[in-house]
Amino acid sequence: MPESDVEIHSAQSLVRWLTECVAMHLARPADTIDASVPLSDYGLDSVYALSVIAELEDHLDVSLDPAIMWDNPTIDALSKALAEELALNG
């Protein structure tokens, strides 16, 4: 799991964290991941993709519906949805 010292609750910092996380899963450099491209294009389309949410939950110590990943298929969309969700809960 990528470590991050930054305050993670903004959509922007979430984009950074998720990009690193996805890059690590795909074993490729973070700068080759486009946050506006559907994650399924990178092969992250199944229940496997949900494990990214599991890591995020553990990292932020929050509880999320894993299907949020399916409703927001890009890192950009997901970060925005997560930031809203976290603001509501926080």
Binding site: H25, V47, A54, D58, D65, A67
Partner: protein
């Protein structure tokens, strides 16, 4: 998802204690079903080995046996109480289907399939549709569930059967072929997974409850029965849908939610499949016990007195008890640890059928030609060996379920390290005398948030055994075995944490770790059950389970420890003929 909410809130208080687990709905139907099956198994009856063997030989459907189960009222137990049925405790359905499976797996698969067909509607359907379906099932309707296609089995996202919204929003049009489906030709209703977004993806599929009686033969074309290795009499076939018009209310839940709903439904059905394996295991052991006590060696010694045969029987008995512990805890977890079912159901479906396949294979070895020849009258052992093979394949194979576990390794190892668990849920799931809270389908989750309480709770359970050993309420031998289990489980979780892989490239050794995880879960389940037992359940069965689990985990186990397996063999051999010892003995009052 528009999940129905049959229970306003899940019980949150401490599990209510009751002396015996009498189902909330009233009297326990299991002993009654067992009695009925005994009556129907007499010569000439629909459950006689002779009748079932003859049907199997000519690949005939066991219609009379299924009808007898209808008359008994078994379908009511597939329908939740809130939809007009009698299902309020999943462990009751499991025990009922286990009783049927003990006699014949073809019948169990053919009859029990209706439960698999209906469950998506129970967890996600509109309340009026669920009530309607409940009524149809009570009237005898057969419900099938069609996910698989000719070229797509395990990979649900590859499905090609398509549903398009009909013009003007007046329903849907379904086109394509579902194939290798249990009961699809016989069924009155079929739950169908269909692509509703041409692009597919996890939000690209929907579930429909298709009422075949409303359709014409031009719209539906049943495909021929497929000859199979086991359950030969079952209706395993397919169906072509030719631009079939289904009404709007056929949609189960919201459009686009089909994959999510079915994955959650599989958490229940995969757990339910365990019933069939446990019944087959009971049957195998009772046949083996009968053979080994009646057959003799050349010098007249009963085969059951040969040390290596006893050891094999004991090991098989321990295997069945471990499988049973897993199954009992898993089915109670449906109520008590609902949010963890993504882990629990995967363990149950991967482990229990594989364990029973193994014990059947071992017994076949000790039975020698007897097991394969018609020496047992109607080739029952050979039939159950063939019949049982399918359990590890349908509804998600052992490999698919291991893959589901591997996907959750990171979460599971983190949870184990921090001891994260739902203590109350664990207590309720592993105390057979505790009243189960009502099942709340809204609590199902694609991924377990907590991890697996059964395994995370192992270290504390082992501490408890050490405490008991101090006051001699547990033997030192048990404490030693439990301690070794904890160490093996600790090491396993370190290895699981180290598994990293890109999508769709699961490394081979991860599957071996998943198998070890299943063993740790099974042994932990047995330990929890023993710690929360109500009566003087003998410690030896638990030691036998731990010895077996440690052996299969690759831990060295000494000869003295293995002697516990002989105690289990003695328990099996001294049981009433036709019966097998079970963790439920003391509860059911019968070991059938």
């Amino acid at each position: 998802m528009t999940a129905t909410t049959p229970h306003a809130s899940a019980a949150t208080g401490t599990a209510a204690r009751s002396p015996a687990p009498v189902p909330a709905g009233g009297s326990d139907p299991v002993p009654e079903l067992v009695r009925r099956l005994d009556e129907l198994a007499v010569a000439g009856g629909p459950f006689s080995a002779e009748a079932l063997g003859a049907l199997d030989a000519r690949e005939g459907f066991p219609a009379e046996a299924c009808r007898a189960l209808d008359e008994f009222g078994l379908p009511r137990y597939y329908v939740p109480v809130e939809h007009g049925g009698a299902l309020d405790d999943f462990s009751t359905v499991m025990r009922l289907l286990r009783a049927v499976s003990r006699v014949d797996l073809t019948v169990a698969a053919a009859h029990g399939k209706t439960y698999l067909g209906a469950v998506s509607t129970w967890i996600a359907g509109a309340p009026d549709r669920a009530t309607w379906l409940g009524r149809r099932i009570a009237e005898g309707a057969v419900v099938s569930c069609a996910l698989t296609e000719r070229h797509h089995g395990s990979d649900l996202l590859a499905g090609e059967v398509t549903a398009r919204e009909a013009d003007g929003g007046a329903g849907w049009r379904v086109t394509g072929e579902k194939w290798l489906i249990n009961n699809i030709t016989r069924a009155d209703l079929v739950t169908v997974l269909a692509r509703t977004d041409p692009a597919g993806g996890p939000r690209g599929f929907s579930l429909f409850l298709v009422d075949k009686s409303r359709l014409t033969s031009e719209q539906l074309n049943p495909l021929p029965k497929v000859p199979t290795y086991g359950i030969r009499g079952a209706d395993i076939s397919g169906m072509e849908f030719h631009d079939v018009r289904v009404p709007s209310d056929a949609l189960i839940g919201e459009a686009g939610r089909g994959v999510e709903i079915i994955l959650k439904a599989l958490h229940l059905t995969r757990t339910g499949c365990v019933a069939m394996s446990l019944g087959a295991g009971d049957h195998a052991l009772s046949l083996a016990a009968r053979f080994t006590t009646t057959a003799t060696t050349d010098d007249g010694t009963s085969i059951s007195e040969l040390p290596h045969v006893r050891r094999e029987l004991g090991a098989a008995m321990a295997g069945l008890l471990l499988a049973e512990a897993t199954g009992l805890v898993a089915v109670r977890a449906v109520h008590a640890l609902t949010a963890e079912m993504s882990v629990v159901s995967a363990v149950a479906k991967a482990y229990v059928p594989a364990q029973v396949d193994d014990l059947v294979a071992r017994l076949l070895h000790s039975l020698g030609p007897y097991g394969l020849l018609d020496a047992d009258g109607h080739g029952r052992f050979a039939k159950l060996e063939r019949d049982h093979r399918i359990i590890g394949i349908f509804d998600g194979s052992s490999l698919v379920n291991r893959n589901a576990l591997i996907d959750q390794f990171a979460r599971l190892s983190r949870g184990y390290r921090t001891g994260r668990q739902d203590e109350e849920g664990l207590d309720e799931a592993t105390d057979l005398g505790a009243r189960l809270r009502p099942f709340d389908p809204r609590a199902l989750s694609l991924l377990s948030g907590t991890g697996a309480s059964v395994v995370a709770g192992l270290p504390a359970a082992v501490d408890r055994v050490h405490d008991l050993a101090v006051t001699e309420a547990a033997s030192d031998r048990l404490a030693t075995l439990a301690e070794r289990l904890r160490r093996a489980t600790d090491r396993l979780h370190e290895e699981m944490a180290a598994v990293r892989f890109p999508p769709r490239a699961v490394p081979g050794h991860a599957f071996e770790l998943a198998e070890r995880y299943e063993l740790c879960f099974a042994a932990a389940a047995a330990l929890h059950l023993w710690l929360r037992r109500r009566d003087g359940l003998d410690e030896a069965w638990l030691r036998g389970c731990l010895v077996t689990a440690l052996t299969e985990l690759g831990e060295p186990v000494g000869e003295t420890e293995r002697e516990d397996l002989d105690i289990l063999a003695d328990a099996l051999l001294s049981a009433r003929p036709g019966t097998v010892p079970s963790l439920l003995d003391s509860l059911e009052g019968t070991v059938r």
